[in-house]
């Protein structure tokens, strides 16, 4: 593409250029006939050509160049902002064609934020807007205004819009609706124009021309939906009249949009709306209108049961329309607008909703899922989650993960508040991990570890689930699951005392395919091995101690054994609890049978001298090659494990006999020491924990690390060295790995393979090399869609409605920390632009008839300093709050009637349920109070949040209308 400089260096266009200029059609043809890949060159050539031609003095040449540029900018994404001035040059052209091309270019590329020549168009726009220019010209100018008016432009041209907006010519002018659309833009970018344009726009509502009414209603719908709707409450009678009179569906839809915003502010208005809405629902044949009615009822009148009932019936029709996915989709959307108070509606359409989970349209499936998750309570979370997780097995990968996401988020919400039976939930997490499409490893990992930390009672089941995951070699190849496996490894290491068979666990953690895991997960695996190893030795020694003492006690003192037994409860009793069927009442059986490591699984007691020796050999063989691993975490953990093994080996009594342990207490000491390292329980950490840690004396955190640069400069050769080192060690490690697997441990591996065919492929091929393990769960044979949904519906014969269920088990204690724990970050508070405030303030003024003198306001508006404007608004704020107070007083007098009061109270309740609105109000109120000078002190002390809603009864018009 030609750079910006080329325009300055390009030669002036010659006569030849304009004679042989390519038209837009020529350009399009050449672009279409180009070979693939040549587009960029062609475009840059065309652009260079345009840059030259557009500077021509001949308006025809210029117009065509501008047209070509507009085309390229709009459809090929070329930048056209540099030509803004050329478009401006063509705006005053007397030729309608040139003018249209110039306006088209301007409307597609001008914007106040990027076009700095925009103010230059003011004069021309004014000229084209004037009644003496042909209507098509005015139309073009209005179009540009409606798209790219800046606040300044809007302010300066508002008086010129006025005649167009209020024209009452007898064949209705086609410009009036366009002027309404331009006025909308002017009002929304520049609230200062409200005194000029608002009244005429309101007058448009009573125009006989439906197009004008439609444009005006559309403008109000837009204003009400983007800003503060309470400003438009005084117009409610006018809208209501239109609702009764209008026959155009377009207008009715927009009116309903407005009422949907107004009804929650004013209960009396809502009551008046019920009848016309029900009428429309019954008789309208236009689905768009019916849908809009349903939406208005659900969002604006949820308290009027009759209307809700009727709307729900319409939604059922939508859901039942087999041939139109659009209606089914919108039906589901409508249901999700209903709050939990109306869960009966979802319950009634349960079958359709669940059937929608199998819909071919992903939108419909997602919407159905959202609805179902909205119906989850602690009584039915069990059925629904199982249903969904099973269904996820059969659905396509994307939706399966959406289901998993939904289940994980719902169940994990607010520190698992829905979950009563954690054993069930933990096994459900295990099932999710086994879904072949699962890519939500991170969340499952987080929850597995989190539950381990928080819920003590869930730990045995957690360890069991973790074991099932760890021993499955098929899971290791799936990169999405490695995070889950990491959590499983951590859990089984941390809570190894609940493991039924620690030896089996060690084998699972060291199985050959763990080489497929990423290094960090491997490090967790090895650390888990370390913990298990320490645990095994500790238990073994404790038991020996007990048996020795009890045998002693049998002969001599009876009391000693019980004392020791109670001392070593932790480990021994855990084993007794965890291993069903192991006869470990007193641990006497130990050592009677010469069990091998591998037969010990079937054996009653896992811990014998020999099994431990074998375990040491297994660990050493598997872990040894990793001592030279590149990844520092893996290397470090491996070295720890190997260090412990070597230390144990060095003690000579190790090999002789079991009693050696007792005689030589050193092993006991080592193991006790290590055990104490891991015995302290890890708990969840509060988010604020870091803040509460006092800074130790003498530690200066603020100080600049100035001499760090010096330290780094000192050994700048280090990185290079470490690289070469790591390269070398990498090769070394590889060769060693090979050697180890081929020579040293062939026999061990062979034996392992023999006993644990489970971990190996049936073929003789080495499983570690190939990655083509069968999937853990192959999806079931594809059943026909109908069958699937049929099954689903059958499965959910249980009601979605919460039932009172007696829990057989009490809910275990879930450790919760401070308030903020586990709760997601607070919803983003909407920052309202001050512009909206300005707009609604200005509209209040106009509607209350408090018009300031135009001349003075004009002067104020022309002053651009923002400070000035803020002050201006503060006047508004004061006037509003003053009048409000007056009305408040009047209101209080009326409140003697009881019905009135109850209405007000319910109103107040509603206010509390919508936090966002409250925020806005609070902000507004705050602004009012800070702005108002000190003699309005009393306002500050008034209850917050009252400020805006009292505006409703303030408007006299609506009082008359509603009472």
């Amino acid at each position: 593409m030609a750079g910006g400089s080329s325009s300055s260096t390009a030669p002036a266009p010659s006569l030849v250029d304009s004679l042989f200029q390519r038209s837009l059609d020529d350009l399009i043809k050449s672009l279409r006939s180009q070979p693939a890949g040549a587009e960029p060159t062609l475009l840059s050539r065309a652009l260079a050509e345009i840059r030259r031609e557009i500077r021509s003095s001949d308006p025809d040449t210029k117009a065509i160049a501008l047209q070509k540029l507009t085309y390229l900018s709009s459809l090929h994404g070329l930048d056209a902002s540099w030509a803004a001035f050329h478009a401006l040059e063509l705006l005053p052209s007397p030729s309608p064609l040139h003018k249209r091309l110039a306006y088209l270019a301007a409307s597609l590329s001008f914007h106040p934020s990027t076009t700095d020549v925009l103010p230059l168009s003011t004069h021309q726009l004014r000229k084209d807007l004037s009644p003496s220019s042909p209507p098509p010209f005015s139309s073009l100018a209005l179009h540009l205004l409606s798209l790219s008016a800046s606040p300044d432009l809007a302010r300066h041209l508002a008086p010129d819009l006025l005649p167009l907006l209020s024209s009452r010519s007898s064949p209705p002018s086609p410009l009036r609706p366009k002027a309404a659309a331009a006025a909308l833009r002017a009002l929304s970018v520049c609230p200062d124009v409200v005194p000029h344009l608002f009244k005429p726009l309101v007058d448009c509502l009573s125009s006989p021309d439906p197009r004008v009414v439609s444009a005006a209603v559309g403008a109000f719908a837009e204003l009400a939906s983007s800003g503060d709707p309470s400003s438009y409450l005084p117009l409610a009678p006018e809208f209501y009249r239109l609702l009764a009179d209008s026959r155009s569906n377009w207008i009715l839809i927009k009116l309903l949009k407005i009422f949907a915003r107004l009804a929650p502010l004013e209960p009396r208005l809502a009551a008046r709306l019920v009848d016309p809405l029900c009428d429309l629902l019954r008789r309208s044949s236009a689905q768009s209108l019916v849908f809009e009615c349903v939406r208005t009822v659900f969002s604006g009148l949820p308290d009027h049961d009759g209307a809700v009932r009727l709307a729900v019936d319409k939604v059922k029709d939508f859901l039942a329309s087999a041939d139109d996915p659009n209606l089914r989709y919108l039906g589901l959307r409508a249901l999700s607008m209903l709050g939990p108070r109306h869960s009966w509606a979802v319950e009634e359409s349960r079958e359709a909703v669940i059937r929608s989970l199998a819909d071919p349209d992903p939108n419909i499936r997602r919407e159905a899922l959202r609805l179902i998750m909205g119906m989850v309570f602690d009584s039915n979370v069990f059925e629904i989650s199982i249903l969904l997780v099973n269904y996820a097995l059969k659905s396509d990968p994307i939706f399966a993960n959406e289901i998993l996401d939904a289940v994980l988020t719902t169940c994990g919400r607010n520190v698992y508040e829905l979950i009563v039976d954690f054993d069930w939930y933990v096994s459900l997490l295990g099932e999710m991990a086994r879904n072949p499409h699962c890519t939500r490893g991170e969340e499952i990992e987080r929850q597995l570890v989190d539950i381990g930390l928080r819920v003590r009672d869930a730990r045995p089941e957690l360890v069991r689930v973790a074991r099932d995951l760890l021993i499955d070699p098929a899971l290791l190849g799936n990169p999405f699951l490695c995070r889950i496996l990491s959590a499983a490894a951590w859990v089984s290491g941390e809570y190894v005392e609940f493991s039924r068979n620690p030896l089996e666990l060690v084998e699972a953690l060291l199985q050959p395919r763990t080489s497929l895991l990423p290094p960090l997960v491997r490090a967790v695996y090895i650390q888990a091995v370390f913990k298990v190893l320490v645990f095994c030795f500790n238990t073994y020694i404790d038991r020996l101690e007990i048996s020795r003492l009890s045998s002693l006690g049998n002969s001599t003192t009876g009391g000693a054994s019980s004392i020791i037994e109670s001392k070593s409860t932790a480990a021994a009793s855990c084993i007794a609890d965890g291993t069903t069927g192991i006869e470990s009442n007193d641990g006497i059986a130990i050592g009677d049978k010469p069990a091998s490591l591998f037969s010990s699984i079937e054996n009653k007691d896992p811990f014998t001298c020999e099994s431990l020796t074998n375990m040491l050999i297994l660990i050493e063989t598997a872990v040894d090659p990793l001592a030279e691993n590149d990844e520092v975490e893996v290397q470090e953990r491996t070295r720890n494990v190997l260090g412990l093994i070597h230390m144990l080996r060095e003690i000579p009594t190790w090999k002789t006999e079991e009693q050696g342990f007792i005689k030589d207490n050193r092993i006991g000491e080592i193991v006790n020491l290590l055990q104490s390292m891991f015995s302290e329980e890890l708990g969840p950490v509060s988010v604020n924990a870091q803040k509460r840690v006092p800074v130790p004396e003498g530690l200066v955190l603020e100080e600049n690390l100035a001499n760090l640069a010096w330290t780094l400069a000192e050994d700048d050769t280090a990185p290079f060295m470490s690289i070469s080192f790591s390269l070398r060690s990498h090769q070394h490690g590889e060769t060693k790995d090979n050697a180890a697997s081929s020579v040293q441990s062939t026999s061990l591996l062979a034996e392992h393979r023999k006993r644990h065919g489970l971990y190996y492929l049936p073929a003789e091929k080495d499983g570690t090399e190939s990655n083509d393990y069968p999937r853990a769960n192959d999806p079931l044979l594809p059943a026909s869609q109908g069958d699937v949904s049929e099954d689903l519906v059958k499965l959910t014969d249980q009601s979605l409605i919460p039932r009172k269920v007696k829990h057989t088990k009490p809910r275990p204690v879930v450790i919760k920390l401070d308030e903020g724990d586990g709760v997601s970050t607070s919803p983003s508070t909407t920052v309202k632009e001050s512009k909206d405030d300005l707009l609604s303030g200005a509209i209040h003024d106009v509607l209350l008839g408090k018009e300031r003198k135009p001349s003075s306001s004009q002067k104020k508006y022309s002053d651009k300093s923002s400070r000035r404007r803020v002050k201006d608004v503060s006047d508004n704020g004061e006037s509003v709050s003053l009048s409000k107070e007056k009305l408040d007083l009047g209101d209080r007098e009326h409140r003697s009637s009881g019905s009135r009061r109850s209405k007000h109270r319910s109103h107040g309740k509603e206010r509390h349920t919508s936090p966002q609105k409250n925020d806005e109000k609070e902000e507004k109120n705050h602004r009012n109070s800070t702005r108002s000078s000190h003699h309005h002190e009393r306002h500050k002390h008034r209850q917050r949040g009252e400020a805006l809603l009292d505006v409703a009864p303030q408007a006299p018009v609506i009082q008359d209308f509603l009472l």
Partner: protein, 166 residues
């Protein structure tokens, strides 16, 4: 309001692009690509609505219709009705069909200006202006007549203006 109107072919090449809230050209192209990415994934017998929050910001939706080789896409926010937008696409396509007598993609390629003229009579600054294709055609014919009469007295008798008049 209506945020954007995009017509593109089934290969993702834009044929008519109009954004009612300003977007710079590069951003427009990016948005068009994202929309195409979504639409090309969708099967034929599914609903015409797509939640477009990820592409056009919160609260936006997209409705599209697939005719022959073209996608007609309207992007809008909560101030519009979904089914009404679907009808509006129908209005737009009908108008094109009446204007070009059995409209095809090639008509759209070579009638850049006229497409904008038609669209501007239906949607004005993001607001629905006219829903009767007859009225739209009448307005467009009037503009064409005005331009023709003025080009007749123009001193440059190039064939260019005739081309634009299409």
């Amino acid at each position: 309001m209506i945020r954007a109107v995009i017509v593109m072919n089934t290969q993702g090449k834009p044929r008519l692009v109009k954004f009612y809230d300003f977007q710079p050209p590069e951003k427009q192209q990016e948005l068009i690509r994202s929309v195409y990415g979504v639409l090309s994934e969708r099967a034929d017998n599914v609903s015409n609505f797509v939640e477009a929050d990820a592409i056009f910001g919160p609260g936006t939706q997209l409705v599209y219709k697939h005719f022959a080789t073209l996608y007609f896409v309207f992007v809008f926010d909560s101030a519009e009705n979904e089914l009404a937008m679907l009808d509006l696409i129908q209005v737009f396509v009908e108008t094109l069909d009446r204007c070009f007598k059995n409209v095809c993609e090639l008509d759209m390629v070579f009638n850049f200006n006229k497409m904008h003229m038609l669209l501007d009579e239906i949607i004005f600054g993001g607001q629905v202006l006219e829903t009767s294709s007859e009225q739209v055609l009448k307005a467009v014919e009037e503009i064409a007549k005005l331009e023709k009469s003025s080009s007749a007295i123009s001193l440059v008798p190039k064939s260019v203006s005739a081309r634009f008049g299409r």
